[in-house]
């Protein structure tokens, strides 16, 4: 919260940590209003996943609504998430940026149709690794235990509930009408879509995308395996995405 000045002065809405928090809270509120479940993972610190989930499910402030949130505390949460998350859901991870299981879940979120929030400390994830990155100051080993990380998701919960006081901005109709200028619409643009391979055949694969299951042509990329992430364009896989962080 170091560069709080812009928001305090009411100046241009910026890129400070408080601005990131505000955007994440509005995104959560909109998704919840549309029926999302919030999936919470924290492979290295399972207590944080549980804390986030209980925060939303059983609010401490009277009058705030209980929201569907679930902690998945498996060391590798990807298999459980893959089988249960639905398009439109939310995924919140609390971890360091180098957590392999979280990296894997974040990479797949696009194919699952899930909006992602990554809370952590220490070196930040690569830009674009999650839809919303909320990072604490200081070394991760300290921030995870001294209340700094807890404060981030507490604030996220508090701000999310403030958003519900603005139904026009949160309801599915309102959220659509109130599209922010900088939020590009991937669905109708000419970009490739992310797909996760469910099963592969000769020259085709059954895949999962944010819009649902599909069969895609894999001629251009060669053999694929279940779990592979593909970039799909016009019904054909145009690339197999390598593990994030590369060199990995």
């Amino acid at each position: 919260m170091a560069d709080a000045g812009a928001a305090e002065a009411g100046a241009t809405f910026g890129a400070g940590p408080e601005d990131d928090l505000a955007r994440a809270a509005l995104a959560l509120a909109r998704r919840f209003a549309a029926g999302a479940t919030l999936w919470c993972v924290a492979p290295g610190w399972p207590e944080h996943a549980r804390h986030v989930a209980v925060e939303f499910v059983h609010p401490v402030i009277m009058g705030t609504r209980a929201l569907p949130a679930v902690s998945v505390v498996d060391p590798d949460p990807v298999p459980a998430l893959r089988s249960t998350v639905r398009s439109g859901d939310l995924l919140l991870a609390v971890s360091t940026a180098d957590d392999r299981a979280v990296q894997s879940a974040m990479r797949r979120a696009g194919a699952w149709g899930v909006t992602t929030v990554w809370v952590g400390a220490g070196p930040r994830p690569q830009p674009g690794a999650a839809d919303h990155v909320l990072w604490a100051d200081g070394p991760a080993a300290v921030a995870a235990h001294d209340g700094s990380v807890v404060r981030i998701y507490h604030l996220l919960w508090e701000l999310t509930h403030v958003c519900f006081e603005h139904p026009g901005l949160v309801s599915p109709e309102g959220a659509q009408a109130a599209c922010e200028p900088d939020s590009g619409c991937v669905t109708c643009s000419d970009e490739g879509r992310l797909a996760e391979v469910l099963a592969s055949g000769a020259d085709t694969a059954e895949v999962r995308t944010a819009e649902g299951p599909a069969t895609v042509d894999t001629m251009a990329v060669g053999a694929v395996r279940p779990g592979d992430l593909l970039l799909v364009h016009g019904g054909a896989a145009i690339a197999v995405l390598e593990e994030a962080g590369d060199g990995a």
Binding site: E8, L21, A22, R23, W45, H48, V162, G168, G174
Partner: protein, 217 residues
């Protein structure tokens, strides 16, 4: 169409469409709450100085003599109890110490809650596991959670060192003879209390590590 004067306040009818003002409000609110949390941490740690010293001294002596730490709490305080136990048992540096949370095992918790009642879910585990010289650390933002207070009573019966982390005005914990060391975060926001209780727990861990290091040297 809106009627009367509603057209002056379109957001009342859910017609609000510009997210800009809300985002600015949210960001301002985040900055304010963050500031409150940091100020509360500073005030709490400086006011608790001598209590922290005494608490860390008792805990350090107990660990040095082979004692183990058991932490407990409900809800967010259960997860904070787990975080505290993880910090002591899998520390980023220093000596790993025997510590675990009594709120982690759903089989044990549901068995006890179902068979003997929720007030006894922690005290019955202390009967099974703990003995004189062990450490009981209970967290309760109200300071008055029944199962936490019951566990402190059992802990004292067994000769354990008892440490309570409370919020608000300290609740029943602050006057209970069963809580030898009580650290109160004086706030009426559960969120701010939990954030600062974590900072208190971290400061306690650092102080215990320093004492053990000093003893070793």
């Amino acid at each position: 169409m809106p009627e009367g004067t509603d057209f002056l306040y379109p957001f009342i009818e859910g017609g609000e469409r510009d997210a800009g003002p809300l985002l600015l409000d949210l960001a301002r609110s985040a900055v304010g709450k963050h500031g409150v949390s940091v100020a509360l941490r500073t005030a709490t740690l400086s006011a608790a100085g001598s209590t922290m010293d005494a608490t860390a001294g008792a805990m350090g002596a107990a660990f040095a003599a082979g004692g183990r730490l058991f932490s407990f709490g409900n809800g967010g305080s259960a997860t904070d109890a787990a975080s505290l136990a993880a910090l002591f048992s899998r520390p980023p540096s220093g000596r790993a110490l025997p510590a675990r949370s009594l709120a982690d095992d759903p089989a044990v918790l549901t068995a006890l809650a179902n068979d003997v009642g929720f007030d006894l879910v922690f005290s019955r585990q202390l009967i099974a596991h703990a003995s004189a010289g062990d450490i009981a650390v209970g967290l309760s933002t109200s300071g008055s959670s029944r199962n936490v207070l019951t566990a402190f009573a059992e802990a004292r019966r067994r000769g354990m060192v008892t440490v309570g982390l409370a919020g608000y005005d300290g609740g029943e914990m602050v006057t209970s003879a069963d809580v030898q060391h009580c650290l109160v975060v004086g706030s009426d926001s559960v969120h701010r209390i939990q954030e600062v209780q974590a900072a208190v727990a971290f400061a306690l861990w650092e102080a215990v590590q320093q004492r053990l290091e000093h003893d070793d040297g």
